[in-house]
Amino acid sequence: MKRLLPASAQRRRVLGGLAGGALLAPVLKPAVASAAAADASPALLAPAPWTLTPGDPLVASPYGMPSPAEHNVIRRLARKPAMPGSGSSDTPLQDLVGSITPNGLVYERHHAGVPKIDPDRHRLAVHGLVRQPLLFTVDDLVRLPSESRVHFLECSGNTSSEWHGPSGHPLQFTHGLLSCCEWTGVRLSTLLDETGIDPSAQWVLAEGADAAALTRSLPLHRILERALVVYAQNGERLRPENGYPLRLFIPGFEGNTHVKWLRRLKLIPAPEMTREETSKYTDLLADGRARQFVFEMDAKSVITRPSPGYRLTTHGYYAISGLAWSGRGRITRVDVSTDGGHTWREARITGPVHDRALTRFEADWRWDGGPARLQSRAVDETGYVQPTREALVAVRGLNSYYHYNGIQSWRVDADGEVRNA
């Protein structure tokens, strides 16, 4: 597939300010702003226009928006979609801090566009091998006991660009099919307590109300207590592109199983072998066989700053910052290497460590101006260690596309440019 020009590479961010290190040069700002700052320190310390006159009135923007200066922090398309509504957009991980993804930046993967659903008309049917089939309204679900949990969401195709080696693409296009929110909803088991479960039910078919009516078969007893039917993310109702008004959420499972615009849960005795679990989302091995029902996203990490698109402009201290996550539990350790994996040291975890959630780490680094290779390696509570690309390829071959979690390497050249090479 043809990739579009990586737009984020055009708006280079500078780390370290300009050479000579202007005291007030704001790091993490575009190069142009830094240049202005370096030339005009005395002017910067004079009262600015925004200090000398009252600002905008209250609710000038009834739903608040980011500063106009942050207009480049947006979702982007890594590749042109075949149809306008069938494809994916990537989260700008290179510009985010902490571990929560703002709702407007959560990655998208749609199979037939974003439906405009009237929540008053939307229903969730729970039927099949149950005692009593039931229809739920959105309000019904909000009445029921709720849970809020912080979890990552990752497309199984995330980082597929790196199977054959460094793609040259920046972080947004290599790892941007990844987001993390606080999700609120009702446990699947709560709904099935209402309907009752026939003992012959082994799988559950989840179906969306979109124009793809996307379906996945899921192993009932593995997800029963873990899965939520969610109606909110980060404190507000789901965004349309994230499943409004209802989506299934299965912590740790590949993204496409978190069926959006959820309208139907059908308990069944065996998987239905839908298109999305046969033709797609299966992992073709070197011998021609393919792994099927590959649900958990294994432990993975990536350095988000510096990453391609950043330029280091001065020698000295930088905090290397990144994200680690595992579909099988909590992150227990992250190691960082600056010499391409020859030596490793333990990174600091700098935020909350939730089960199956993005976990922010940092490591101190002093850049001496020489070439460097920055890598990170995640370990989760099961003891699983994020593998190298070579180890993954040795087991799964080069024909696999989904579920890539190899160690990512960013090359820092002597000129300070950071590259995926």
């Binding site: 049917a125 309907t195 009752g196 479960i197 009516a213 239905e272 033709s279 099927q292 590959v294 593998p387």
Partner: protein
């Protein structure tokens, strides 16, 4: 406690209890009972054993006409692919350096064709084809892939019996414990 008691009850009574009133003392009593017939328009999934397939039938010749009118614009006149997936060919390539995954080379069940076309195709007008048309297009695609002969007519009984070339090409996820 609630979960345990309701689930134990469900296990003990099983399907036989389908007529018990919903307002169970141990539940929240939230949700509206719904009948199978009321859900019919949503309940369109098809299982590999053919469960869920509707009445009707269609043959290769009619499928060719439907495909030319509704599918070829994206999938190519002969199913060779375009802005839509390639649907034909690729047999024997799965273990090569350039695997070609199509209905004929990769899909393990013919029922998936009916299920997917019925719910999602054509892209610009999903759920617009009749059952006869879907059986026919399925027959045509299987014919183009050399899976069934040109004289084939498919229906709810015969579609699940079609033997797909890659029927045994899938293995369960061996993780954890291995990459």
């Amino acid at each position: 406690m609630l979960e345990r008691s309701v689930r134990a009850w469900a296990l003990a009574v099983g399907v036989g209890a389908c007529c018990v009133a919903h307002a169970d003392a141990t539940g929240y009593g939230i949700g509206t009972p719904v009948t199978g017939s009321a859900l019919a328009a949503w309940n369109i999934d098809v299982a590999p054993d053919g469960h869920g397939l509707p009445a009707g039938s269609g043959d290769v010749a009619h499928g060719k006409a439907v495909f030319a009118a509704k599918c070829a614009m994206c999938h190519g006149a002969a199913g060779q692919g375009g802005i839509g997936d390639r649907l034909v060919g690729g047999r024997g390539t799965l273990a090569s350096d350039k695997p070609v995954k199509t209905v004929g080379s990769y899909w393990p069940y013919a029922t998936t064709l009916f299920d997917y076309i019925r719910r999602a195709m054509p892209y610009n007008a999903p759920q617009s084809l009749s059952a006869d048309d879907i059986y026919a297009v399925s027959a045509y695609l299987l014919y183009l892939n050399g899976v069934v002969p040109e004289s084939t007519r498919l229906d709810a009984k015969t579609l699940p019996k079609v033997k797909m070339p890659n029927r045994h090409g899938f293995v369960r996820d061996p993780r954890p414990g291995t990459l």
